[in-house]
Amino acid sequence: MSSFNVSDTGYYGSFGGAYIPEMLYPNVEELRANYLEIINSEDFQAEFKELLETYVGRPTPLYFANRLSEKYGAKIYLKREDLCHTGAHKVNNTIGQILLAKKLGKDKIIAETGAGQHGVATATVCALMGMDCTVYMGEVDMARQKPNVERMKILGAEVKAATSGSKTLKDATNEAMRHWINHPDDTHYIIGSVVGPHPYPDMVARFQSVISQEIKNQLSREEGRNSPDYVIACVGGGSNAAGAFYHFLENTEVKLVAAEAAGHGVATGKSAATTFIGKSGVLHGSKTLLMQTEDGQVVEPHSISAGLDYPGIGPMHAHLFDSKRASFYDITDEEAMIAGVELSKLEGIIPAIESAHAFAVLKKMDFNKQDVVVINLSGRGDKDLETYIKWGKY
């Protein structure tokens, strides 16, 4: 029995479950009852692998970052999810879920998006499969990630603005859930992270686990060993981290490191670092660590990166934190921007600001020269150029 994967009842330790209104029960139950059988079936696996290879461009390279390694005194490899079609790891999951939706007989797709990466990845696979696509996005995020809004529209998706609350990812998720309640029969909801009611966290983690599977294979060739000493990833909801950690969860010799968005700093009230300032609660269908008031109202998060601007964290990560299986670092907006520019200048790779949070951890850790460190470079920075320009220190 593994201790860091999901239990039969949908829990990771004390986190997880399916806290959904009855109106969503039939949909979520249909998924729960069928997802393992479908995704483990041979024809699903064949189609999934084929698309990951020929459409997404997998396997993505595991690149030895020479100059970064020199600077931080360790053997640092970058898992190049930024080279996936659409520019981030998000597409691994949307390919998986749209194939699943087809098997379940659904012909309409809805999704929520923060930075727009998941929205673009969803709009992309909907175009690929000829399915109707509606993406909810917070009004604030639509303004700060304009190119992605236009990308989704070019791909044929309808983008609907979430105008309640902080008008960011949390509110887009609320609107998508409401849409699903109103359209339960023909619609599949492609959640973009390892959040939401069971089985979503496990299902999304499985689709993203191709990342750690490839890391194992590639490290064997490069280093003659199939596991690194460290895996570092940024965590908002936590899908890229779940994918990068997945095959190492039970191998406790691999140190798992998560970078959370501290915004202006965890003590400033303008932060999204859930494990530092959250406590156990229920949002969007699962029990997890959640930023909230004493009265149980969800607190509006802040991060410079729209993809990490979420007041919760996936239940798997809440458990990794609680059980101390992973170590968590709080990375401020400023630290992330500095790390993003540093990677650009040292390796010629401009990372998404989400991913830059993972690189900022390097300054806070001590390595031995022989340590093998894998950083999950979850997305590229094209969508963030405006933020880099506004920040200006390069």
Binding site: E22, G165, R178, V282, D295, G296
Partner: protein, 256 residues
């Protein structure tokens, strides 16, 4: 016997009205409850506002936000409800999302409900199984009847399970939708009402979501034991929050 069960013995066209605690004004809770009873409502649901009400449409979202902006909390609501039973004798339920209740502490929440004279609870995002496995005894000890929802997509088998564990009433969600007032009843809805009526469940049923006027209320009463009105009443409170406005609204639904 709980006030809820007594109400169903006495009346078979129950008018149950929902309002959000702390809306439109922070201190309106007892006044509105009392005005509703005096106007002829048979049962009340007081909503605990939550920042992320995913099962609610725009009207209740807005009232929840205003209530929170006004400073409403679950602790404050219980303080206000201390005088509830001096003013109100009809059954009163609390309705809210699970997170504020979890933070308050479920055991403590049940105790407080008992202290102030609450008869039942509706917690839409607390799953049935979770309730049965973990929390049921706290509700029973406090004499609280926890109400479960069914929707047009709920399977017959699951409806029977819910019927078996229900001891107040079953909350029938009228269509696949979030909350919000609708003018009329759609064809598919009547089939669903009839299908459930024909199941001969042991529990009484109240139909909610989309009930807004005497027409939709009367149709609900033909197929169930009454109906729940929320958004339409919130709209009324926004326009005319006075006791007279409340009375006008209740009389427009249910002739005395």
């Amino acid at each position: 016997m709980n006030r809820i069960n007594k109400a169903f013995e006495k009346e078979n066209s129950i008018l149950n009205i929902y309002f959000t605690a702390g809306f439109p004004d922070l201190r309106d809770t007892i006044r509105i409850a009392s005005a509703l009873e005096n106007s002829g409502a048979d049962m009340l649901e007081i909503g605990i506002p939550f920042s992320d009400p995913v099962a609610d449409g725009p009207t209740i979202q807005k009232s929840s936000k205003q209530a929170l902006d006004n400073g409403m909390t679950l602790a404050l609501l219980f303080d206000q409800l201390v005088t509830l039973r001096e003013k109100v004798s009809i059954p009163v339920l609390l309705m809210g999302y699970v997170n504020p209740i979890l933070q308050f502490g479920i055991e403590e929440f049940c105790k407080k409900c008992k202290e102030v004279g609450i008869d039942g609870t509706i917690i839409p995002d607390l799953p049935v199984q979770e309730f049965l496995d973990t929390y049921k005894h706290h509700f029973e000890e406090a004499g609280l009847e926890n109400i479960f929802l069914i929707s047009p997509n709920t399977s017959e088998e699951r409806i029977e399970t819910i019927d078996a564990i229900s001891n107040g009433f079953i909350y029938m969600v009228s269509s696949a939708s979030t909350t919000g007032a609708k003018e009329s009843v759609q064809d598919g809805q009547l089939e669903y009402y009839q299908r459930i009526q024909d199941m001969n469940l042991k529990s009484p049923r109240l139909i909610g979501f989309g009930i807004s006027n005497s027409e939709t209320f009367n149709i609900a009463c033909e197929h169930a034991h009454g109906a729940i009105i929320g958004s339409a009443f919130i709209n009324q409170l926004e326009k005319e929050p006075s006791d007279e406005g409340i009375q006008k609204f209740v009389h427009s639904i249910k002739k005395q």
